[in-house]
Amino acid sequence: MKSTIDKILLVVLLIAFLVCMYLIFIWVPQIKASNASEQIAQKIFYFHVPSAWLGFLAFFIVFITSVGYLWKRDRRYELIGVASAEIGVLFITLVLLTGPIWAKPVWGIWWTWDARLTSSLILWLIYVAYLMLRRYLPDGSKRANLSAVVGILGFVDVPIVYYSIRWWETQHPKAVMASGEGSLAQPMFIAFMFSLATFTVLYVYLLRKRYQLLVIEDSINKQFKEMEIL
């Protein structure tokens, strides 16, 4: 049952990825830009923004599972949360990497302290701290409790951080990464939504895989313990 879903997901993912690449690089009409590198750099938008959204989704899942864990004390909630946090960090790292790659050809600078990039950086720091906390604690209900608390506090803060940095941005006008969320031409909008959907499937697939791995680790360790006892 489990592996059937995974197989289907993988197939869907691969197909979606191929379609996505086609849409982004071939189907979408070229934008008006001053030079070729800027034209190509603009494509990053289709990876940059969905990564940010998925990163945010991943941390929302961390929040939900943290609350769920504190309520039910179920190990599964803890494991889903950890898996989601790891994947979230991955996606946000992608945001932080694609940001400069986009900014350099377009603005001539590697980093712009704009709201999305900066709050992504802070988001990244929060969840890296979450993972480091877990690394420095021995496995057990204490670690689960503490990380759940951090998961909740961290997520509640995320919108506040974004909001405060947006405000700060108005005080210090900076080069802003074109959000593209404003008026997107029809074909670009389609390509963007498709990219978003692909990334979402990727997230679900990675989450399932990572979670399954954690569950297997648990059961192996348990079996060793059982053998000791017998």
Partner: protein, 222 residues
């Protein structure tokens, strides 16, 4: 309420006896001011622009020290466990620690402020009284989150590093708003947005104080 006050009283008693925290916090901030003087060669005008940021950097780095100390003392003799055993709501224990950390930090801030004024040759004016709500609100937001996160971090062997890692990103809104408000006061241009910004800090304080109060029980549990 009684337990929270007992904890406050105990912490203040220990602090007044040793003065460990306040002294260390004060000297640390002094060092920050001195070092910044040498690392940034800027004109007086620019110095005035960055002074507010400098003040809050000093507050927060020193504040971390106070937070670490507060819970290191508890960890020392197994007192985290004794708190878990007390017939008291976890939130009350949080309240007690929050109050002691906040009061000690406020005392330190009052003591370091004159040094700040002297070092940066600030012209004191009546408007400086507006700094009081700013520092109060900013500090409370910092210590609300800081108290619960310090209780989390103290369970690891790298308490200080983990507290910094956890706390800094989470209090960044406070830093942004407080620095801006402080800047307004020091420069002397209080625009109408002063009050809306202050309200935001207070809202932040309320949100995180409440969350920390509700979640503290889980920190004490094993």
């Amino acid at each position: 309420m009684r337990a929270a006050l007992a904890i406050l009283r105990k912490d203040l008693r220990m602090e007044f006896r040793s003065k460990e925290s306040i002294l260390a916090m004060w000297i640390f901030s002094l060092l920050i001011f001195v070092i910044f003087n040498f690392t940034f060669e800027v004109s007086r005008l620019v110095m005035l622009e960055i002074a507010p940021g400098l003040l809050w950097v000093a507050f927060i780095f020193s504040g971390m020290f106070g937070l670490n100390h507060s819970f290191a003392v508890e960890k020392e003799n197994g007192n985290l466990r004794s708190m878990a055993l007390m017939p008291v709501d976890g939130g009350q224990i949080f309240l007690g620690k929050f109050l002691s950390v906040t009061l000690i930090m406020l005392m330190f801030e009052v003591l370091i402020f004159p040094i700040f004024v002297i070092f940066y040759d600030l012209q004191l004016s009546l408007q400086f009284f507006l700094l009081i709500p700013v520092v109060l609100a900013g500090t409370i937001g910092f210590t609300s989150l800081g108290t619960i996160l310090s209780a989390v971090a103290v369970h690891t062997r790298n308490q200080q590093i983990l507290l910094s890692l956890l706390l800094w990103p989470l209090v960044s809104p406070i830093v942004i708003w407080s620095v801006n408000l402080t800047s307004m006061v020091l420069i002397g241009e209080i625009v109408p947005s002063f009050y809306s910004l202050l309200t935001r800090i207070v809202a932040f304080d309320v949100i995180f104080f409440t969350l920390a109060y509700m979640l503290f029980d889980f920190i004490l549990e094993d």
